[in-house]
């Protein structure tokens, strides 16, 4: 799976958690909480969805590593290959 595919998955799951967020309007450096205004319940829903979709369980302590789409893609790509 390449970075672009992972990015599509991340953005589509963000859209499912918050349907008003159009993936086309999200920039890679948008902060999930500060810019996209996801709350802790939304972040947990996103992490749950990514776990179901990619089989990667992101520990709570590592949530800061996925706090923008760009960082999330980097983090998940590292887990998939490594």
């Amino acid at each position: 799976m390449n970075d672009s595919e992972i990015r599509d998955i991340v953005l589509s799951e963000i859209h499912k958690v918050a349907p008003d967020i159009d993936p086309a309007d999200v920039s890679d450096d948008d902060h999930l909480q500060d810019d996209l205004e996801l709350d802790s319940m939304d972040i947990l829903s996103l992490v749950t969805a990514l776990h179901e979709r990619l089989g990667i369980s992101i520990p709570e302590a590592e949530y800061p590593e996925i706090d923008t789409p760009a960082k999330a893609v980097r983090y998940l790509a590292g887990k998939i290959t490594g």
Binding site: A18, P19, D20, D22, Q33, D34, E37, D39, S40, M41, L44, S45, V47, T48, L50, H51, E52, S57, I58, P59, E60, A61
Partner: protein, 360 residues
């Protein structure tokens, strides 16, 4: 149909609200048809006795039946058709179907955002105007803001509010929760918000004058502790559906219940009973918000607990000052019903509960 089955969906200012049957029985006659607009008070259907009665049998008519949705009468001796299953089999709300028909949209081409993929009005509207998801404001207040405004104006006009505040160390709860969550998959993790809601419900057991409704000039304490959970909706607005008997639920069930309420609040599918059964509401500013807020009571309730965002602050532990996570709680209460003493007791009991999270 069983008691609690959904018999209608009403599109309200605050989204679609499911109306549940207060009676068990067999639908003997449908009066209103799907998609029809009916005035308030109009009967929608007749529900007869649970078993088709013999000629002599006279089923008890319900005296407490609200007149809004469904009324009872003696059942027809024989019923051939089962209850309608339109909501589940077609998977679209009546308003969604009506709108789709009007706009010439094929429902089967839409993806529903309701529970179980049900298509709601918002889905139909979104398919027509994909970019316009904001509620119409037409230069004034949105429907949601009007609903919030009406409740809050009533609250501030009728309820003599007072508030008490307490800063409680929550480092222990957070550490305990982090350890508890660390070996769990995301779907089984519990958020601090759920722990606080459970603790708030348990504390309400100790102070009966904060849990109930003020109606017709008198306070009626509730035997059940049904915690309203204030949920802010993306795009604006607030809604506070309630969990049922929160104090008796396990922590995992409280978390699951809150997840469910948030999901359904956002997709606009809450039940009428969830909107009215709350006896004490908890409103949380989230994990990264401001540290303190004094909330406005949600009538006819008599108290509301606001939870600030946890902050790391210098804290005295024994003889030392060390950085600890602390959280500010403000209890707004109705002075017609209780005084500072009760509000203070509630907050100190809450602190006790939070000092022993493993017992929650």
């Amino acid at each position: 149909m069983r008691r609690g089955d959904v018999v209608a969906v009403v599109e309200t200012q605050k989204g679609a609200i499911e109306i549940e049957s207060f009676e068990a029985g067999i639908v003997t006659e449908l009066i209103a048809s799907v998609g029809q607009t009916v005035p308030v008070g109009q009967e929608l259907a007749w529900i007869g006795a649970e078993e088709p009665p013999t000629v002599e049998a006279v089923p008890e008519p319900s005296s407490k039946q609200p007149s809004v949705a469904v009324a009872s009468k003696l059942s027809a001796p024989k019923v051939t058709a089962g209850p309608p299953r339109s909501l589940t089999s077609i998977g679209a709300s009546p308003a969604a179907r009506r709108a789709a028909h009007k706009l010439g949209i094929d429902l089967s081409t839409l993806q529903g955002s309701g529970p179980g993929g049900a298509i709601v009005l918002a889905d139909v509207e979104a398919s027509e105007k994909p970019k316009n998801i904001a509620k119409t404001t037409e230069g004034g207040l949105s429907e949601m803001r009007k609903a919030v405004a009406a409740a809050m104006v009533r609250s501030k006009r009728e309820i003599p509010h007072f508030s008490a505040s307490h800063t409680i160390e929550t480092q222990g709860v957070s550490d305990w929760l982090a350890a508890r969550n660390s070996d769990r998959p995301p779907s089984e993790r519990v958020l601090l918000g759920a722990v606080l809601v459970k603790a708030a419900a348990l504390a309400a057991r100790s102070v009966k004058t904060l849990n109930g409704h003020f109606t017709d000039g008198a306070f009626v304490p509730s035997d059940e502790i049904n915690t309203g959970v204030a949920i802010s909706l993306r795009g604006g607005g607030l809604i506070a559906p309630a969990l049922h008997r929160t104090d008796t639920m396990s922590l995992d069930d409280v978390m699951a219940g809150m997840r469910d309420l948030v999901t359904r609040a956002r997709s606009g599918r809450l039940r009428g009973s969830e909107m009215t059964r709350g006896t004490l509401t908890v409103s949380s500013l989230g994990e990264n918000g401001a540290e303190q807020m004094t909330g406005v009571i949600f009538p006819p309730q008599v108290a509301l607990l606001t939870v600030g965002a946890p902050q790391v602050r210098p804290w005295v532990v024994g003889d030392a000052i060390i950085p600890r996570e602390v959280t500010n709680f403000v209890l707004s209460a109705d002075h017609r019903v209780c005084d500072g003493l009760q509000a203070s007791k509630y907050l100190t009991v809450l602190a006790e509960k939070l000092s022993r999270p493993e017992e929650l």
